[in-house]
């Protein structure tokens, strides 16, 4: 029991990160920018590794975060430029993702001390995050929730417009609000956790609700439960990886929800006919 008390803070961070990422993911998918986020996330992690080379002995959190955030935003600017040349953006982002991944492995070959950073970049979790990171994450998610509340009409309207008219959103306030929790999560919780909680809820049950408001509530509850239960299992069964367990638990809950929603629909359809 005491070990669960020890990880109490981690449970709170898990719940908040999962719910925030699922809402950000909902907007990201509707705007058609999931691939863009994959590419930018990889670029952000690349920037984080560069900071570890530039400051090998002591890279404070703030400095590494600046490198990650700068790479992420610079990537967005580059993509905006590339769009104006009417390139095939999907292929460009997939290609870019692969090149960046290769580059990171090359860097690890040249600078073996980066190996642990690279591993935590990909498979890090709330358990590997230190106290300062957890506090920063909490502040980030609370701030994101406040910003979302304040600008919810604007963000939702832009999501609808991007989705229906295919507008490519520029580097604007929306991008900054939606990117803030992603960058923070990438840095502290790793690529696997961040991208999975961003993508899986909207991918599996995204369009099955009677309204977007209902979808948002369900996303928050499911992601929260998936992340917290996953963390609980990974603590109870010490040999399993935390992030992988959280992602797998989320996936199972989503599949069960999908099955329940489809059964409900079928029942309603039968009643009507």
């Amino acid at each position: 029991m005491s070990i669960f008390v020890f990880y109490g803070f981690a449970f709170v961070v898990s719940a908040l990160s999962a719910s925030t990422l699922s809402i950000v993911g909902k907007h990201t998918r509707a705007r058609g920018t999931i691939l863009e986020v994959f590419f930018l996330a990889q670029l952000g992690l690349f920037g984080g590794l560069v900071s570890k080379i530039a400051f090998p002995h002591h890279a404070p959190i703030a400095l590494t975060l600046v490198f990650v955030a700068f790479s992420y935003v610079a990537g967005k600017v580059l993509l905006q430029r590339a769009r104006s040349y009417q390139l095939d953006m999907d292929l460009l982002m997939i290609g870019g993702y692969l090149v960046l991944l290769s580059l990171q492995y090359l860097m690890v070959g040249l600078f073996p001390q980066l190996d642990s950073h690279m591993t935590s970049n990909f498979f890090g979790s709330v358990v590997t995050a230190d106290m300062l990171e957890c506090v920063l994450l909490l502040v980030c998610y609370v701030l994101t929730a406040i910003l979302f509340r304040s600008f919810s009409r604007r963000i939702s309207r832009n999501t609808v417009e991007s989705s229906i008219f295919g507008n490519q959103r520029r580097l604007d306030l929306d991008f900054l609000i939606l990117s803030f929790p992603v960058v923070m999560s990438l840095y502290s919780l790793g690529f696997l956790y961040t991208m999975s909680f961003l993508l899986l809820p909207t991918l599996i049950v995204g369009r099955l609700f009677s309204s977007e408001r209902v979808a948002a509530y369900v996303f928050v509850v499911i992601s929260c439960v998936g992340s917290v239960m996953g963390l609980y299992f990974s603590i109870a069964f010490e040999s399993v990886s935390t992030a992988s367990m959280q992602v797998f638990t989320l996936f199972l809950i989503l599949v069960l929800t999908l099955a329940a929603l489809l059964s409900l629909r079928r029942l309603r359809f039968k009643k009507k006919s």
């Binding site: 909902k26 058609g32 229906i164 009677s210 309204s211 977007e212």
Partner: protein, 190 residues
């Protein structure tokens, strides 16, 4: 007083795409801009929306930026959200009178379950705020059957004939017949 005046306006990128256009648009009038593919309809729109510079001639709007609404073509039929009509309308400042034209059962309908005509009508409504004086529509009847197109024409006629009438610019490659309101046709020709 006209809301839009065009005087020998030619549009294009380096060279003119069409012969010079001269017309005026007042409140309550519908201006149809027609022409085959490549005749410069989209370039005309970009020009009067101040995205492109005219090749020659001039145009002048007598409306503030927030009094001019533009509805682009619906590009994506396969969206990834669950918004229903009421939720979408709540995101915009839709004039109450225009909003009340939507039946309550349609308000509960999700975008993904709606027909092309219902979607187009909702998006038209989203552009009618209490401040709107002029409405610009880009190919609003694309991929719609004749019956649906007719109901949207009647809806637009209503906007042009209401107590506080709108001026409407309609860019379309299909001819449309409006009755009861003043209609002007500009044919873009090379």
């Amino acid at each position: 007083m006209p809301l839009l005046e065009c005087d020998k306006l030619t549009v294009g990128y380096d060279s003119p795409l069409c012969s010079p256009l001269s017309f005026e648009l007042r409140r309550g009038q519908i201006l149809q801009v027609k022409g085959p593919n490549g005749s410069g309809k989209t370039t005309f729109l970009k020009t009067v929306l101040n995205i492109l510079e005219p090749v020659s001639g001039r145009y002048h709007w007598r409306v503030a930026a927030d009094e001019l609404s533009y509805l682009p073509q619906i590009q994506n039929q396969n969206v990834h959200f669950s918004y229903n009509f009421k939720e979408i309308l709540d995101l915009y400042d839709v004039a109450q009178k225009a909003r009340s034209s939507i039946p309550s059962d349609l308000l509960r309908k999700r975008w993904v379950d709606a027909s092309g005509g219902e979607r187009q009508r909702l998006m038209m409504l989203s552009r009618v705020s209490p401040k709107t004086k002029a409405l610009i529509l880009d190919e609003p009847f694309n991929h719609l059957d004749q019956g649906t197109k007719q109901s949207l024409i009647e809806f637009l006629q209503g906007l042009a004939m209401q107590e506080d009438p709108l001026a409407i610019v309609l860019v379309s490659h299909q001819p449309s017949v409006f009755t009861g309101c003043e209609t002007k046709v500009v044919e873009l020709a090379p």
